[in-house]
């Protein structure tokens, strides 16, 4: 599944549509501690987290994960929203818990 296909699934609310939406989603990564995400984040993975600050975006681009999915009804704060637009990063959100969101995406991989 590509980032665009995940957006088009309608499963998640769209916070920002970034560039490179034809990127293939390779995996799902769930984690909220940024140091762990930084060292363990999987290239190409959709990153499901509740952390919606500017540092989340920095970690995403440093690890080359493909998009952010904010779970548990969280959202980007204002500074992070501006940064996501500027850096053209795809961010989606949902009220579901991380595991459920991640499981849905995992089921669509392939």
């Amino acid at each position: 599944m590509t980032v665009k296909e995940l957006i088009d699934s309608g499963k998640f609310e769209v916070v920002n549509v970034g560039a490179a939406t034809d990127t293939k989603i390779t995996d799902v990564f769930c984690c909220d501690l940024l140091s762990i995400a930084m060292s363990r984040g999987i290239e190409g993975a959709a990153w499901v987290t509740v952390m919606g600050n500017i540092n989340t975006l920095a970690v995403l681009s440093l690890t080359d994960m493909s998009c952010i999915v904010l779970a548990e009804g969280t959202n980007l704060d204002q500074a992070a929203k501006a940064k996501a637009i500027e850096q053209k990063i795809t961010v989606l959100r949902t009220d579901e818990p991380e595991f459920k969101a991640g499981l849905y995406i995992h089921g669509k991989l392939g």
Binding site: S35, I54, N55, A58, L62
Partner: protein
């Protein structure tokens, strides 16, 4: 890539909104130079953790990155409080980060262990009340 390239970054105090910019910039440049992806990843992780530490623990500082054909060297120098016990600071999970920093997803006490793990060589020079200089190297296979 025969000459040495030097990059310098001012990492400012308490500016979480910009933390990570220096590491991102270095990552982008290394990618453009076709440095092997594994080395780029190691540099990005090690430098990001060091950059965040400067912001959280040391009121910012200066990062100098030199790119040689066989080695990337990152020197992170701050004029912060210094580290009283390096062995303790190096332990996974040890952190003195305040709650507002933990709320941002940092302060897991994984920074220095990650820096050690992802660099091929790391040296910490620190003096209480004077500052800390962390030097990290990532070697590039010929």
């Amino acid at each position: 890539m025969s000459d040495t390239i030097t990059l310098k970054y001012d990492v400012s105090t308490d500016d979480f909104t910009r933390a990570g910019e220096a590491s991102s910039d270095v990552k982008r440049k290394l990618k453009n130079m076709n440095v092997n992806p594994e080395a780029v990843r190691k540099v990005a992780i090690a430098m990001y953790e060091g950059e965040i530490n400067m912001v959280i623990h040391a009121n910012g500082g200066v990062i100098t990155v030199t790119i040689d054909p066989d080695c990337i060297t990152m020197i992170l120098a701050d004029k912060g409080p210094g580290i009283p016990d390096i062995a303790k600071a190096m332990q996974a999970g040890y952190s003195t980060a305040p709650d507002n920093v933990r709320d941002l997803g940092f302060g897991a006490g994984m920074g220095l262990p990650n820096m050690k793990k992802y660099s091929d060589d790391m040296k910490i020079e620190t003096e209480l009340g004077v500052g800390t200089t962390v030097t990290m190297k990532v070697f590039l296979a010929a």
